[in-house]
Symmetry: none
DNA sequence: GACTAAACGAGACGGTACGTCGAGTCTTTGT
DNA sequence: ACAAAGACTCGACGTACCGTCTCGTTTAGTC
């Protein structure tokens, strides 16, 4: 997501530290003031760096935010294999909760659905992340079905959504606290639903049929006569 | 949220129409460009009105957004009473889905969790709305318990959250489409979970213990050394 | 200078009083804040009248100022005839001094050379006033010459200017006080100069030769490349 | 009047030229439109510079005007010593005339008595300039008295005022042309008056007694009930 | 250990938008 | 009919930040 992060040859020295400071400052400002109120000058000042130093590496305010976030929103959840669905799901849910508690995680998640989420790169990353995670749930479900713990037609994506939705809902939508019990509760609900066959494939009309277009997504679209 | 929207006596003339136009333009800009990129001049131009006319009634860009949104985020969901939990919940879920599909609903909901959600009034409203809706679920649950459709200790708030979370998740977090099946699916999941006793009161540590403070909420807080 | 000041028929009632109040308020604002800082709203408020009431009678801020001043800058100096030049001149000088001491006189005179003086009507009036006054000096000089008090070729205009200049200079240019002695001093100087033949006609190249053009007058002119 | 005009080290580059252009444009606008109609945007445009560039160096419209004028209103008149009063005074008068003919001089002088003259700095400068010039006349008078050309009690300040008044009067008050003969005429009048003892010290009550307050000066004062 | 080239601090600049004030115009309401 | 009230357009104010640019000044890696 950066010009040449893999090339450790040239900018090893002084620049490296400054870059890290700027990225950290960006996250901090994102947390304190939000994307809309984030200013390059504020970030620079917070990083103890001059404005031009920021602009030297990042063309725009947007790319700065994208870069600062991109370090974190790829922090991936592992695919658990504990031998039982319940503990598998618990591991998944706890990993989710942990990834979004703490200042950095919170800042990143909040930013992802805030106005920063309208940036194409962020929107793309968000979609990719959830697609990845849904796919990550597939082996878990497969194993559970083999073990006879879940119905054969259980939809992994739907299971993952059911697991993740309450966590995100509490954190980003309803401002309810996200505490330990939340993960446990999500597991219970998802498991009960899955066992009851409520997460069977094909029953949801919306399923995964969102191939292609995705017009009118989060980023809004053309002019709409709302009035 | 307004001085006297029901009183058509005084400001009937030119001002009334202009106000409505500005509010509509604000929502449209919110949808098209997002809160961060919304400019008063853009709104004014879109409303066919001069910038100072906007500032006459709204002190700041923020209050303009708050006012434009406040007409819609109180659009309340009715308390259904159809004689059966399933249809009650279906009515609830469908009302939710309907309230956030269509350009206006989408713009409002997106704005609520975007940077506009950091505005104290918006954050307050968001919390109030969900608290209201949770309370709205109480009679539904009570009747279901009476009818023996749900366990006696079913938590209405948790039920509502389980119903609402997937809808909001798809719309705002994962950018999945929100279609007809989504409401139905949410009902199935919530019902299965409730029947399985997964939504029993007291089992969730986070329960409703968020009395008072709610410090460190969505609006971010003091400076945090993220780096 | 007004639409119909001589017609006392119609606007006797409420309007009459309001007009006077506005005019007085205009002078007061002119004195307190100066022409550049004079605002119609300030005048209206000071006059206890609504802005539109001012605009009903005066098309522009400028015409308001012109009208308010025009009552006073025509307040003419009488042509004295006391039987001796010295006392004639003294009467003239004292009339001048009196016309510009006191708040109103001071406000009017200051306004005349301030930016209000760029208004064509004001510039015109100023020129007319001084031309009139120079002409007013003619009989005084004629009689003095007859009496043998002054040289035959004494220029009345020049005499008047010599009399008036120090008074205006102190009031408007050097901010020196304009007190009783000033008039007396001006008389002595003018008399001494006239008797010494320093005010003889034709000696001043600039004399009254300013017929016509008057390009580059007080009002400034076209664009000049000063840099 | 500037930070370090003699130090050509630092701001040599782009800034220097822009500053000069803005100052020149300010004078030009002052001449063309007057102080009251002078706008920062107009000045910026005329200087071929952006508005914010003007505001970067000058906090307000007023300080811009003050700075632009301050380069010129200190342009001092030399103290002549030609060996004879008449030629000394002639040199003085001609220097005066020259300093206020030509577009820049005219603009500056006009601005000094216009509404810009209400600015404290301008008023102060105006007073200081005339005080300086009066003092400058002292050695001229002293030498003339030694030579027996003028009465011993001749007041230098009064002499200077008598010399300057007609020039300023023609330029700023009566809009008469200021031509070559004017200086000559002023010298004749001043000389005649001085020789006749009309400029003796102590005879003018107002003399230099303006110690202290000087309340109600050119800058206007508190609210006065003119009506 | 001196040299070179990059990265940096500093800050002016053209721009866009902010939120405010005042000029004039126009419409509505009350008398 | 006219005056009070006030909403509206328009233009300028003075401010903050954006992103670009050009200077000197470190300072890191090389010779």
């Amino acid at each position: 997501m950066e010009s040449a992060p893999a090339d450790p040859v040239r900018p090893v020295g002084r620049g490296r530290k400054a870059q890290a400071a700027v990225r950290a400052a960006t996250l901090a400002e994102l947390f304190d003031r939000g994307y809309a109120e984030l200013t390059v000058e504020g970030v620079a000042q917070r990083a103890g760096v001059h404005k031009t130093t920021v602009y030297r590496r990042w063309k725009t305010r947007e790319s700065l935010v994208v870069d600062a976030l991109s370090e974190h929103f790829a922090a991936d959840i592992p695919t658990p294999d504990t031998g039982a669905v319940e503990s598998d799901l618990r591991a998944l849910a706890q990993a989710l909760v942990e990834s979004m508690t703490g200042p950095v995680g919170r800042a990143v998640q909040t930013a992802m659905v805030s106005d920063a989420g309208r940036l194409p790169e962020i929107a793309e990353a968000r979609r990719r992340v959830f697609a990845d995670r849904c796919r990550r749930a597939e082996p878990v479900v497969a194993r559970a079905v083999e073990r006879g713990e879940l119905p054969a037609d259980t939809d992994p994506s739907e299971l993952f959504r059911t697991l993740a939705a309450p966590v995100y809902f509490r954190l980003l939508i309803s401002d309810d606290p996200v505490e330990d019990g939340v993960a446990e509760q999500a597991v219970r609900v998802a498991l009960a639903a899955a066992r009851a066959g409520a997460l069977a494939q094909g029953r949801s009309a919306a399923d995964d049929g969102r191939a292609g277009g995705q017009e009118g997504g989060h980023t809004g679209g053309g002019s709409v006569p709302l009035g």
